[in-house]
């Protein structure tokens, strides 16, 4: 396909790898982190981790939206699905995530949980089924938030009274700031997310780069994009001068997508948010703003009370922070597999454990 295949050229990849080796020679071991589920998948799929020199470690951060959604959110979504006139719409990969006693998938046979490709599917269904209350599970980062915001505005335009969003949306920069200053993880550079950056632009990373002297390179998804970005990070690390570079400038503009940013700002407001395995991160979540409270399920129903259990044995939290690799978990590929996931990182195809399991990385 145009503008995809060209970025998979093996000859050029070999050339960049040689340059990476040259730059890495004699360098103290460095860890770079990607914080984007699609990067996690691409890194495993193309076997990039094992092609890198010994002293260059690539770790997967909390870039998978499903994986960072806290368990009590899942439990509440399941409890909502048990209410008679409520129909839940969700992106597909949320369905298998285990809650405390059940998963949305197990609730599906009663027809109350449906898969949406877009939030608009839920709006359309609500328009045709006025006797039902339709709740869309709003999960995702800045790439998904504007699409859900647009759906909410459609619902407002259509004057729908039976469409609601349960917002678990999150924003990435506060999590990156937290990880940047974590001495245990000791990241020496960020491979910044591609599509999140298409929306938010390069500016949010400037502050991270300056404040923590952290090299940041916005990277595309193809193997050459990722390799070139790693080379750029290494060159920054060598020069000891941190800055923000945009390798993916064919899509990401410095300003981001102003239309998408405006609709996020209109429909949502910033709140503190809990990340699975990490805890509450200040100002890292998006709630529906007051103007749209008619569509906020949390403002229109007494939310079910749930008792959420703590994950036993699952080290998803440490995996999400890049402190541990999936292989270091004693459940990995034994009790926990994609068919029988114990934690969120094994559920979504974008999760570090699932990607690791599927492509069996060298384990570096």
């Amino acid at each position: 396909m145009k503008y995809i295949d060209e970025f998979r050229d093996t000859g050029i990849a070999a050339k960049i790898l040689k340059l990476i080796e040259k730059e890495a020679k004699g360098l103290e071991p460095v860890s770079f982190m990607e914080t984007c589920g699609t990067h996690t998948m691409a890194v495993e799929r193309f076997g990039i981790r094992k092609t890198l020199p010994e002293n260059v470690r690539l770790i997967s951060g909390p870039g998978c939206p499903v994986c960072v959604t806290p368990k009590d959110y899942i439990d509440k979504a399941i409890a909502l699905a048990e209410i008679d006139d409520i129909i839940i719409f969700s992106f597909g990969d949320m369905l298998k995530v285990p809650g405390t006693n059940s998963s949305l998938l197990k609730e599906r046979p009663n027809g109350r949980v449906k898969i949406a490709y877009s939030a608009l599917d839920a709006v359309e269904f609500a328009g045709k089924n006025k006797g039902k209350r339709v709740v869309f599970l709003g999960i995702g980062f800045e790439t998904t938030a504007p699409t859900v915001a647009a759906a909410i505005r459609y619902a407002k335009k259509e004057r729908l009274k039976n469409f609601f969003v349960y917002s678990g949306h999150k924003v990435m920069p506060p999590a990156m700031r937290l990880l940047a200053k974590d001495k245990l993880i000791n990241i020496k550079g960020f491979l910044c997310p591609a599509h999140v950056s298409a929306v938010i632009g390069t500016k949010p990373y400037s502050e991270i780069s300056e404040r923590y002297n952290m090299p940041c390179v916005i990277a595309g998804f193809e193997p050459l994009d990722i390799l070139q970005s790693i080379l750029m990070l290494l060159r920054q690390a060598r020069s000891k001068k941190a800055k923000v570079e945009n390798q993916y400038n064919r899509v990401v503009k410095a300003s981001g997508n102003i239309r998408a940013l405006k609709i996020i700002e209109d429909v949502f407001s910033i709140k503190d948010s809990k990340w699975r395995g990490i805890g509450v991160i200040r100002k890292s979540g998006l709630a529906l703003s007051g103007r749209y409270s008619n569509f906020d399920i949390e403002k229109n129903i007494d939310m079910p009370q749930v008792k959420t259990s703590i994950d036993k044995g699952c080290i998803c939290g440490s995996v999400l922070k890049g402190v541990k690799t999936p292989k270091e978990c004693r459940l990995f590929s034994k009790k926990c597999t994609p068919l029988n996931p114990q934690g969120a990182c094994m559920v979504s195809s974008e999760g570090a454990c699932a990607a690791y399991y599927k492509y069996r990385s060298g384990g570096k």
Binding site: Y3, P146, T147, Q228, Q247, R250
Partner: protein
């Protein structure tokens, strides 16, 4: 994905023979033939083909 048809804030796009309808609310001056990045039923940005060619040239000459 490539835009084939535009109607208001909706467009038909195709990729590898697969066609689908998406929202183009977030695009500035979308045109037929534009390559777009699609996420959850919406185009989130256009792909700048000039910049793509520049990056490819840079990759070919990388040192």
């Amino acid at each position: 994905m490539k835009i084939l048809k535009i109607e208001g804030d909706r467009a038909n796009v195709s990729s590898g023979g697969v066609q689908r309808a998406i929202g183009i609310n977030f695009l500035k001056n979308p045109k037929i033939g534009d390559y777009v990045i699609v996420h959850a039923g919406f185009a989130i940005e256009k792909l700048d083909t000039v910049k793509a060619e520049e990056t490819l040239k840079l990759l070919e000459e990388i040192q």
